[in-house]
């Protein structure tokens, strides 16, 4: 292939990408992105994970170390299929807090500390430098392959000048598209789409070569399997440590690599895309590695011994005379290198400008006026940073001489950025992680990484002297860079991985446990860890003394005049004000800070606003206020709940009382009508007989008889009225009790004697148990005897047995005495048992013996007054009543 044709193809390809990026940018500005925001583009843009290292290097890796190259893909696969654990939270936080880079995330989480931002930035730049060099190297190598195959007329360029041309070209492309404008959200649709296109080119190129190898050179899948089995590809022995360690390392890298963070979090348009990418991205990785082993096997088989296995993918089609296929592969490799370099340098430039240049600029010129447009400073800083990053990469390429195998450099870079992982994970899942811990962990990890992995990578004698390698730092043998603390015989990569991350984590935990975080750190910690549980008391700003005009001036410096005015006007309108100057309420300051941090990072935005507000941070008191506010709300609602329950209870009680009142009213009416009836019956006969008497001329015996009747009826009336009076006294509780010690036996004797006047013609057999009656009660003896008489009389009156018997049983239990009166009649029917204690309740009129039906009602009232009770005992073979009285009645305090 003529070299100039190759250059022409490259330029044509770059122009094509340029056009894609340009058109998409135009559409994005017009707000017509449509399918360009699809999950497909998102997934394809993630493919910058596959750089030229994996494009060319994977085959070389497979040829050297067998299947170990797969670990580089397994890690990301596990991270993505496990997106519910980590990536979901990462993306949510990135979108919610307008995170601009991984340095911004770490700095923002740990109290918007710019120190942390600077440290992460430096680490990322140092780790990325060899990686960018690697991309340049792979492009140069691939150029070299073509040039050496067909030198025709045009002198093949020396690798150094190729590298510099590539670096300059990439810098230009990146600057043109990466720093065209300063968006409030750090997104670059044009570049992302161009990268998606490049991802397709990469994949198609690899699949094309793979298909050619499997079905063109070999004889299909069966043949390839036979060849793999037959090949002496490598003495592949899985080393458990290296296998596991590399899976872990690549998993860590896919989260923390600045360019991965850029496309995965910062450029994310829609959280839903992540769900699709969770399987689509692993699928892409799988397709990328599907043909690696066949290509390596066939390459080892067909190509002359000693040819660079990193270039098999290119040299194999060339050797087979497939120029067009080789061209496609070349473009695929070129795509891998360019897309990686572009995104990496954009991500690094954002970090450098936001965390290094702008803070410095603000410190140097703190009181610059409105005319001083910071946006230009930011953009220029980014342009310079892109150029600087590429220059660094080129420098590393020159120093290292492009000698080392691709895979080794890539892993060193991975391990460098993986040092951010502990701080990141702790920041996302552990509220207790604080700034000092993160600082300690990052520094420790970075130093150990540099000492055990990065510096030794230049080779003995280059950065670290021979003596350090063999005898350790300061001659201390336990400080040898590849055998720290005497761990000899470990694989150098795993050795560095183990020690750097272990000590990193230990330092992080110790620092967090032993120091106390500032209020802002605590606020940010809660906000990040609980990002799915809604806002955490977002009162980051107390109502400050900031001048709205000064805020507007500052916002204009960063957002530009139009954007700043629109923001201020809408905020003013929300506050119900006209014009462009809203009150500096805490809510407005929060909004403003969020907008600014989308452009210059959280730490800078926070610092700028606090300069104007005059109060740098929230205080512990503010935090407590937020906490107690919500606690008060909780308490208040609990009180409300209790009050409501109380109200419900009261309403229930009221309803019951109302029902009782209604019943009482009905009872009273019934009572009145009853009593009139009771009074009327004797009255009627008294009136009738006295009328007869007044007529005179009656025989004297009739007069005597009628007089007797009138007398009896009058007596009955008197008794009735006595009873009523008695009852009313008892019911009102105004009865005077005379408490004394009295013998139960005596009371029963008295009662039996007195009751004998009721139906004296009947002979009753009384069963008593005299010993059990030998009890002295402290009670009102007259009243209790009255109850006894009543019950015994009732038995005499109503017991319908032929040979009536009455049994009186006395029992004493726990300070109470029960006295049962049981006769052998047919008892009281069940449905009437609840009625007998009501006033005027008479079951039958058959044995009416002058009672008004008040007897049992009076009994019940007396017993209540005596602190006892009377109840009907069912199931005793006759009518049975049980009295319960306390053994010693104490006078109530009344």
């Amino acid at each position: 292939m003529p070299f100039n044709l190759l250059v022409f193809a490259c330029i044509l390809y770059v122009v094509f990408l340029f056009a894609v990026a340009f058109i998409v940018e135009r559409r994005a500005q017009a707000g017509r992105l449509g399918w360009l925001r699809s999950p497909l583009v998102y997934t394809l843009s993630l493919s910058i994970y596959c750089t030229a290292w994996t494009f060319y290097g994977a085959v070389g890796y497979a040829a050297r170390s067998g299947l170990e190259f797969l670990t580089i893909y397994f890690g990301p696969t596990l991270v993505f299929i496990g997106w519910w654990w980590l990536l979901r939270k990462l993306v949510r936080i990135g979108r919610q807090y307008r995170v601009t880079s991984i340095a911004d995330l770490i700095s923002s989480r740990f109290g918007k500390s710019n120190t942390l931002g600077v440290i992460v930035t430096v680490m990322a730049v140092v780790a990325a430098t060899p990686y960018i060099a690697l991309q340049l190297q792979s492009v140069v190598l691939s150029f070299g392959v073509f040039a050496s195959v067909t030198p025709d007329g045009v002198s093949p360029p020396d690798p150094g000048s190729t590298a510099i041309w590539v670096a300059v070209g990439l810098a230009l492309f990146t600057i043109l598209f990466g720093t065209r404008n300063l968006d409030a959200k750090e997104q670059h649709h044009g570049i992302v789409t161009a990268i998606a296109v490049e991802a397709v080119v990469k994949l198609v190129a690899l699949l094309a070569v793979g298909s050619f190898v499997v079905w063109g050179i070999a004889d299909g899948v069966g043949d390839i399997i036979a060849r793999i089995d037959a090949s002496d590809l490598s003495a592949w022995q899985v080393e458990p440590g290296r296998w596991t360690g590399l899976i872990f390392l690549s998993a860590a890298a896919v989260i923390t690599l600045p360019r991965m963070f850029q496309v995965m979090v910062v450029e994310n348009d829609d959280e839903g895309h992540l769900a699709r990418a969770s399987w689509a991205f692993p699928l892409y990785l799988m397709l990328m590695s599907l043909f690696i082993v066949p290509i390596a096997v066939v390459g080892l088989d067909r190509l002359p011994a000693g040819s660079n296995p990193d270039m098999f993918i290119l040299t194999l089609p060339l050797a087979e005379g497939q120029g067009a296929l080789a061209m496609l592969v070349f473009l695929g490799g070129f795509s891998s290198a360019t897309s990686m370099v572009i995104v990496e340098s954009i991500a690094l430039a954002t970090m450098i400008s936001n965390h290094v240049v702008i803070p410095l600029w603000l410190r140097l010129r703190p009181k610059a006026g409105a005319g001083d447009d910071l946006r230009l400073v930011v953009l220029n800083a980014r342009r310079l940073a892109i150029a600087a990053v590429l220059a660094l990469g080129y420098g590393y390429y020159q120093i290292s001489g492009g000698s080392a195998a691709l895979a080794a450099i890539g892993l060193i870079a991975f391990l460098g950025v993986a040092q951010v992982l502990p701080a990141l994970l702790a920041g996302l899942f552990w509220r207790g992680a604080n700034k000092n811990g993160a600082l300690l962990g990052l520094l420790t990890g970075f130093v150990i990484w540099a000492y055990t992995s990065f510096l030794p990578s230049f080779g003995p004698g280059a950065m670290l002297s021979e003596a350090v390698f063999t005898q350790g730092l300061f001659g201390l043998s336990w400080l040898r860079p590849q055998a720290l603390f005497g761990t000899e015989g470990m694989d150098p990569m795993i050795h560095a991985l183990f020690w750097s991350l272990t000590l990193n984590v230990i330092a992080l935990c110790l620092g967090s446990l032993l120091t106390f975080p500032a209020p802002l750190e605590r606020l940010q910690g809660a906000a990040f860890v609980n990002v799915f549980e809604g806002a955490v008391g977002p009162q980051r700003w107390a109502r400050g003394q900031a001048e709205p005009e000064a805020l507007l001036t500052m916002a204009q410096r960063i957002l530009g005049e139009d954007a700043a005015l629109t923001l201020f006007q809408s905020a003013a309108r929300d506050q119900g004000k006209d014009g462009f100057l809203p009150d500096p309420t805490p809510a407005f300051l929060d909004t403003l800070e969020a907008r600014l941090s989308g452009s210059v990072g959280a730490a800078t935005a926070h610092a700028m606003i606090s300069q104007l507000v005059g109060r740098a941070t929230v205080t512990v008191e503010d935090l407590m206020a937020v906490a107690s506010e919500s606690a008060q709300i909780m308490e208040y609602s609990a009180q409300l709940e209790a009050r409501e329950a109380e109200l419900t209870r009261t309403a229930g009680a009221l309803r019951e009382a109302n029902e009782k009142l209604m019943q009482l009213s009905i009872q009273k009416d019934a009572f009145l009508s009853q009593i009139s009836h009771e009074l009327r019956t004797p009255m009627t006969s008294i009136r009738a007989f006295s009328e007869i008497l007044t007529e005179g001329d009656l025989p004297p015996e009739m007069v005597t008889k009628y007089g007797q009747i009138i007398h009896d009826e009058a007596k009955r009336l008197t008794r009735l009225l006595d009873d009523l009076l008695d009852l009313s006294v008892l019911e009102n509780g105004t009865v005077q009790l005379t408490l004394e010690l009295a013998s139960l036996q005596q009371m029963l004797d008295t009662a039996l004697t007195a009751a004998r006047q009721t139906r004296p013609e009947r002979s009753f057999t009384i069963h008593r148990d005299l010993p059990s009656e030998a009890i002295y009660l402290k009670t009102d003896a007259d009243r209790l005897t009255q109850v006894f008489i009543n019950l015994i009389s009732n038995a005499r009156k109503y017991c319908d047995a032929a040979e009536p018997e009455l049994r009186i049983a006395v029992r004493q239990r726990a300070g109470r005495v029960t006295i049962d009166f049981i006769d052998n009649g047919k008892g009281i029917p069940k449905e009437s048992q609840s009625l007998i204690f009501e006033k005027f309740a008479r079951l039958t009129d058959a044995n009416r013996a002058g009672g008004a039906g008040l007897g049992l009602a009076i009994c019940r009232e007396i017993m209540t007054n005596l602190g006892g009770s009377v109840a009907y005992l069912p199931g005793q073979g006759g009518a049975a009543f049980r009295l319960t009285v306390p053994l010693r009645l104490e006078k109530l305090a009344a």
Binding site: L67, T77, W84, S234
Partner: protein, 86 residues
Amino acid sequence: MARPKPPLFLARAPYRRRRLRDAARLLPILGLFLLLLPLLWTHGDRTSLSAGDVIYFFLVWLGLIGVAAGFAPGLSSGEGTEEEED
């Protein structure tokens, strides 16, 4: 900060969604197990690569991708209901 107590038991649909999330969380652990499993294989005196190894890894890989693809729609559809986080 105290939050209102989440309900102890859930209806059928949210229950299924939660178990799906559990499954999504467990999937990478299963994946790691399957990818580390070959470390336990004893190769005996055979030291070179066999096609069987390659096929095993790609089958596991494909299986994990397939399961993740099966989970993804259910997971993203329930995402709006954050109140039942965990």
